[in-house]
Symmetry: C2
Subunit: 394 residues, 2 copies
C-alpha cells in the first residue's frame, strides 16, 4: 500500500480525532478541505519513538530549554537542508509555531510599535502583533504580481519596529527569490527593523522555484531575524503542539527565552512532543518527501480541474499544500461562496475573511490539498457541481 | 511488587529523563530531593491510554477548548471529591498549572495593580503577577502560626486587585480550615479582589486535617475565584505539561479563554497530554491514593528522623510531598546550607532563596519526599552526616 493512497486514510479515526474545522467538526457527509492538517497517519517511526519513550513509564520534567538532542537535530536539519547557519544553542523548542510567533512579537514590540504584516496572510501574524500591544500595518501582496518589496519603504514610519515575513507564503503559496530577500534585508537593516520569519511551510516545495531561507544570506545580515518553524505541516504533528524559534545572535536569543516562559514551568513543550519532533527530523524525512511528491501531484491535478471551472481563477502554488482561489467572478463574497458550497454540495473551504487573512483576502477562498486523490477528486467534483448550481441560480 | 517500593524505581531511566534539578541534572552519586516530581513510573493505565490513542497514527488538531471528555472528567472529579461545584463548560485545560497562573494574572491584572502574594510561597505566584505587569505585595506566613488572615486588610491598598492563595500551601505544607477560607472570601469580597486559587497539591493530603476547597463554600461567593489544578504532583505527568483552570462565572471564563491563546493555535495542550490527564482522573485514582499513602509514611519517617537532628526544625506537613526545614540554628544561610550538603554529602535540596520562595524563606530549605523509602533513608543519613560534619567544622 502506498503511503499516500486514499486507502491509507482512516476516516473513522479522522471523524473522532481531527478538529479545527476538519472531519470531527463538520456535519456528516461534508468534505473538509479546510485547516492545513494531513488526512494521513504520521510516519510509523514517530509513533515508534513515542512508544519507546513511554516504555519505562517516566514522564518527568524535561530540560528548560528543550531536549539537547532535539535542539541539535533541528539545527543540523536547518543547516544541511536549508543552509540556515543556525547553531543548536540558538534554537528554542516551543509549543507550536503559533506560540513562537507570539513569543517573538512579545519579545521585541512595545505597545504602540508598528509591525508590517502582509495582506493577505495567515491571521497569526496580525494577532501576535496585537497581543504584544503592537499595531499591524498592512502591506498588500497578490498572486498576480511578484512580491518584490520595491515599495516597502512607503509603509515604514518612525514607529515601525518589525516586518513579518511568511516564507513560503500562506495562503498565496509563493516563495521568494534570493534577490527579493536581499532587498528585504537591506530595507530592514536601513530602518533597524526586526524580521519575524515564519518558515513553517519551507519543506513543502511543489514547483520549480527553490525555497531560499533568508537566514542563508548570512549571519551578520540576519542579526535581527527571528525565525519560526514547526512540525505540523511537514510531519502531521499539529495535535502535539511542537515547533521552534531560532535566531543568529546570543543576546537576541536570551530575549526570546525570557519572553517564552520556559525558564519557569509556564512555558515549554511536552516531552512526548519533543520526542516526536526529534523522530520526525531524524527518521521521517522520507515520509515528508513522499508526502510532498503526493501533494505536488494533487496540486497539478487541482490546477487542471480548477482552470476548467468558470468563475474561479487558480494557479499552481510554489509551495505549501493549500490553494488560493479567486472566486470574485462568481459575484459572491468569500463567506457567501463557502457558505454556498457547504450547504449545497457539502464541501467545506476556508473563506478569505478579514479575520482569517486580512482585508486583502476578500473574494478568495483557501482549499487544502492534504488528502488522498479520491477525496480531492470528490471535492473538486462537488465544487464544479456547486458552481453549476450557482450559475443556474439554484 | 508494591507500586511504591524502592525496587520499582528505575534509576537508569531517571538519570536519562528526570530534569529540573533532578537525577538527570545532578552530578553522579548525588541524591536529588529537589523538584516535586515522583521517582516512580506513572500508572500503567496512563501509558495504556496514550498507546491506544497512538494506535491509528493520527496526531491531528484537538478542540480549541480541549477535549470535551477531559473537561467533563475534570469537572466531575472536582465536584465528587472536592465538592467544588464547577461545571465542565467552565473548565479549560492548559499546558501546565504554571501556565494557568500566568493566564489568570494576565486576564485580571493591569500594569501597576497590586496582588497579595504569601511569603514564603512558590515563586510562580510572584512571577505570574510580575509578568502581567502587576506588583506583588508580600503577606508573611509561617509554619509557627496558623494562617488565619486576621491582619490581611493591613496589606490591601486602593491598588490591590487580587489575592493569591496556595492551598495546600507550597512550601509550608499547610491546609486551611473552612473558617479561614470564609474569612478570606469575606475580605476579598469587601475589597472586590480576585482570588488566584492554586489547588495543584489538593490530592496529597497527609495529615488529619481535611482539604477544603474555597470553591466548596458556594458559587456566589466565588464569582471572582480563579482556580488552577494540575496533573504533575498527583499523577507524575510533569513532562506532559497539562493542567487546567476553572471558575464559577461564564463571563469570567470567557476572559480566561481570551487570555489563554487557545482560540488561536498559540495556546492549547498536546493531544497525548490530554489523553494522559483523562486516564489519570478516570483510571489512576487508585495509584494516586496509594502514592499518597506511601508519602504519608515517608513524611512520618522523615519527621521522626529530622526531629532527632540538632540544628533542624521540622514538622509534619498537612499536605504536599515536600517538607520545609528551618535550618537557622546551623548558622548557615539557605544557600550555604544546600551548597554544603551538596558538596559534602552529595544531597541536593532546594534552598529557601528569595528567588524561589520570597524573602521570608531565608533560613529554610525544601526537601522532596516523592521517592522510595530507601532513597529517603539514605538522603536523611546523608543529612545527618552533613550536620555532624558541620558541627565538627569539617
Amino acid at each position: 500500500m502506498e503511503l499516500f493512497s486514499s486507502s491509507n486514510i482512516n476516516f473513522d479515526a479522522l471523524r473522532r480525532k481531527a478538529f479545527n474545522f476538519r472531519w470531527a467538526e463538520v456535519e456528516d457527509g461534508v468534505i473538509p478541505l479546510t485547516a492545513a492538517d494531513p488526512d494521513f497517519p504520521v510516519a510509523p517511526e514517530i509513533i515508534g519513538a513515542i512508544t519507546d519513550y513511554l516504555s519505562d513509564g517516566y514522564l518527568s520534567y524535561t530540560p528548560k530549554l528543550g531536549m539537547p538532542q532535539l535542539r541539535k537535530a533541528i539545527a543540523e536539519d536547518l543547516c544541511s537542508r536549508k543552509n540556515e547557519g543556525v547553531t543548536e544553542d540558538l534554537v528554542l523548542p516551543v509549543d507550536s509555531a503559533a506560540r513562537g510567533m507570539y513569543i517573538i512579537a512579545g519579545a521585541v514590540l512595545e505597545p504602540g510599535d508598528e509591525a508590517i504584516v502582509m495582506d493577505p496572510v495567515d491571521y497569526l501574524f496580525k494577532n501576535s502583533v496585537m497581543t504584544a500591544g503592537g499595531v499591524p500595518v498592512y502591506y498588500p501582496v497578490s498572486p498576480d504580481k511578484e512580491i518584490d518589496f520595491e515599495d516597502l519603504e512607503d509603509y515604514i514610519t518612525p514607529k515601525t519596529r518589525m516586518f513579518c515575513l511568511c516564507n513560503p507564503h500562506n495562503p498565496l503559496g509563493k516563495v521568494y527569490s534570493e534577490k527579493t530577500l536581499e532587498k528585504l534585508l537591506d530595507v530592514c537593516e536601513k530602518h533597524g527593523l526586526w524580521i519575524m520569519n515564519d518558515e513553517i511551510w519551507s519543506d513543502m516545495i511543489l514547483g520549480e522555484k527553490p525555497f531560499v531561507s533568508i537566514n542563508s544570506l548570512g549571519g551578520e545580515k540576519n542579526k535581527k531575524t527571528l525565525s519560526v518553524y514547526g512540525f505540523s505541516k511537514a510531519y502531521g504533528l499539529a495535535g502535539l503542539r511542537v515547533g521552534c524559534i531560532y535566531c543568529r545572535d546570543r543576546e537576541v536569543f536570551d530575549r526570546l527565552v525570557d519572553a517564552s516562559g520556559v525558564l519557569t514551568t509556564a512555558g515549554g513543550v511536552s516531552s512526548l512532543s519533543q520526542v516526536a519532533a526529534l523522530a520526525a527530523i531524524t527518521k521521517a524525512r522520507y515520509w515528508s518527501e513522499a508526502f510532498t511528491d503526493h501533494l505536488r501531484g494533487n496540486a497539478r491535478y487541482a490546477v487542471k480541474r480548477l482552470s476548467a471551472m468558470p468563475g474561479i481563477k487558480a494557479y499552481m502554488p510554489d509551495a505549501t499544500y493549500i490553494m488560493w482561489l479567486d472566486v470574485r467572478d462568481t459575484g459572491l463574497s468569500s463567506q457567501q461562496f463557502t457558505d454556498f458550497m457547504q450547504e449545497k454540495v457539502k464541501l467545506a473551504l476556508v473563506p478569505g475573511s478579514e479575520k482569517m487573512f486580512g482585508p486583502g483576502a476578500e473574494g478568495c477562498v483557501r482549499m487544502c490539498l492534504a488528502t488522498g486523490r479520491e477525496v480531492l477528486t470528490e471535492g473538486l467534483d462537488r465544487l464544479e457541481k456547486g458552481l453549476e448550481m450557482l450559475r443556474r441560480g439554484e
